[in-house]
Amino acid sequence: MSTTTGTSTIVLRGRKVVGGIAEGEALVTTERISGWGGIDPRTGSVIETRHPLRGVSFAGKVLVFPGAKGSSGWSNQFHMTRLMGTAPAALLFNEMTTKIALGAVVTRAPALTGFDQDPLQVIRTGDWVRVDAERGIVEVTRRSTDE
């Protein structure tokens, strides 16, 4: 396979959780994310001790993750990221819970779930992702330095 000519686009379809359109670089994790005690809204980064994204910032990124876990402070912590300017650009996730639904609503970032393909398999960190939550469409453009 040629790796020199950059860009192929993959399209995923999902269900709207929060409307809107956004794009950005993907940040993908196969681990669920805690809100309170799991992120620091001041920096928009993950702080959970054994989390693979520990120390990594999701600010302005399209965050691709299985779902939420942990404290009921989830929504409040992501609410804070919006007020502190460190919110993700969009949220793409697989598992619907009250934590993540409310968190997505108050973060007001476009959000989708219930995809026709598993975003954790398809999207890689660094890909460019355009999210049209109104139409339920995610366009993924591979980073040109792909393997």
């Binding site: 269900r15 959780v17 929060v18 669920r32 005690g37 799991g38 702080i47 959970e48 001790t49 054994r50 779902g67 939420a68 876990k69 942990g70 404290s71 009921s72 402070g73 989830w74 929504s75 409040n76 609410h79 804070m80 007020l83 598992e95 619907m96 819970t97 009250t98 934590k99 639904a101 409310l102 968190g103 997505a104 609503v105 108050v106 959000a111």
Partner: protein
């Protein structure tokens, strides 16, 4: 989301701007979940306080407690005047203990501001329980009661132990529920989602809060947000675990994972038998918990700990029961907290009053420890000055405190922790 006429009228402003904003949030939230409708609730536990520096500054700049409630409890862009709550509402834990502000390093002006906020909260009819364990201080839902609570450890207790119907709500949804008496009818409010999905078989008997914490932490990581059905060794629990054991168990399972409901066969109300707990589901996984799993979980929970000099022992996550305070007093009797260490114990304010009455507060203070209320070190980010190594008897706290405060944490039994406080050294090991 389908709204009934009453709900539509609330949305359209019949009951004022704040109720309209509350209904607007519930509709957005319900749509996000994919819920079809709302359900009535008469039991809400949430937080409306502004006890962190960020919240206080927000209040000072944007228009006081109405502004805080509008933004953080209703997700409203405009500041609305907050009316009295419509249904029974209890306040959860806070960012500090206002009666121990100095010890916690909280400035006097922050306390002054908090006192005003407290008056606002009480004035709107919210009960100042100020605890993560409302079920310890009088808010005890009945089986089948639809509730809207925050606090994952309380939610899992309500669903599993009490048989209440509840999802893990957040600050915004509980704020909206306080003003409307409504919450999305989704998740654990419905029968079909309360049935077990995973089978967990125990190869060992569990006695203490410590052992139940280990099981909960191990189980939560494996089942995440699903519904485990726990079967005792030999099929039957020889001793039913009491309130504090299940408090620690659920808290641990909702920290390492997102467990909001579990069944203990023969113990919890919706699990008289394995079959009834599963409700016709075929378990997606069968898990076994024995000596190897117990040991690996202990290692995981102690993974941040290196140094054996313990600066700080914190007990009371979730807030200690009066029985746990009594036990701590027995362990402390005749001993003194080491000069290089500190002991802080956290409990609901109402239980602190009982501890005062029983003479327990005095015993703890005479030994050099402190019995405090309303908060904990993870919520308040307050620890004795210079703390680098903490010792904890809560798996939940061992999960969170190192992440939030950057300290090392030892996890052990209550006796290990009291011993560490009195010797200044960690000698706990897995028996």
């Amino acid at each position: 989301m389908r709204l009934n006429d009453d709900e539509k009228a609330m949305l359209d402003g019949r009951d004022g701007a704040a109720v309209s904003k509350a209904m607007d949030l519930l509709v957005r939230y319900g749509d996000a979940l994919g819920a079809e409708r709302l359900v009535d609730t008469r039991n809400v536990c949430g937080t409306v306080s502004a006890s962190t520096p960020f919240m206080r500054d927000f209040a000072l700049q944007k228009g006081g407690m109405d502004a805080v409630f509008s933004e953080f409890n209703l997700d409203s862009d405009t500041v609305v005047e907050v009316p009295p709550v419509k249904v029974y509402s209890t306040h959860l834990q806070l960012g500090f203990d206002p009666n121990e502000a100095q010890r916690m390093g909280i400035a006097e002006e922050v306390v002054q501001f908090y006192r005003k906020g407290e008056a606002f909260t009480a004035g709107r009819g919210v009960q100042l329980g100020n605890t993560c364990t409302p079920y310890q201080v009088g808010n005890v839902p009945t089986r089948g009661e639809h509730c809207a609570w925050m606090e994952s450890s309380a939610v899992v207790y309500c669903n599993s132990v009490l048989g209440g119907r509840i999802n893990t709500e957040g600050r915004e949804s509980t704020g909206a529920a306080m003003l409307t008496g409504k919450i999305p009818y989704w998740g654990y409010h419905l029968d079909e989602n309360r049935r077990g999905t995973h089978l967990v078989e125990l190869d060992i008997d569990l006695e203490s809060t410590f052992e139940w914490g280990l099981l909960g932490y191990w189980m939560g990581e494996l089942v995440q947000e699903r519904v485990p059905v726990v079967v005792a060794r030999g099929g039957r629990f020889l001793k039913a675990p009491n309130l504090q054991r299940l408090k620690h168990f659920g808290a641990a399972a909702s920290s390492s994972g997102g467990v909001e409901m579990y069944h203990l066969v023969g113990v919890t109300p919706e699990a008289p038998t394995v079959e009834e707990a599963l409700g016709g589901n075929r378990p997606v996984q069968r898990l076994r918990f024995g000596e190897a799993e117990r040991r690996a979980t202990w290692d995981k929970l102690n993974s941040t700990a290196r140094d054996h000099e313990v600066d700080y022992v914190m007990l009371g996550c979730p807030h200690y029961s009066i029985e746990q305070i009594w036990e701590a007093c027995q362990l402390l009797q005749g001993r003194k907290v080491h000069e290089n260490s500190s002991l802080w114990i956290f409990t609901p304010r109402a239980i602190k009053a009982l501890a005062d009455q029983n003479g327990y507060t005095r015993i703890i203070e005479d030994a050099g420890g402190h019995l405090m209320s309303d908060t904990c070190s993870a919520m308040s980010r307050a620890m004795p000055q210079g703390t680098k190594v903490a010792a904890l008897d809560s798996a939940k706290h061992a999960h969170y405190l190192p992440a939030i405060m950057g300290v090392q944490a030892w996890f052990g039994t209550t006796a290990d922790c009291i011993d560490a406080a009195c010797t200044g050294r960690w000698n706990g090991r897995l028996a």
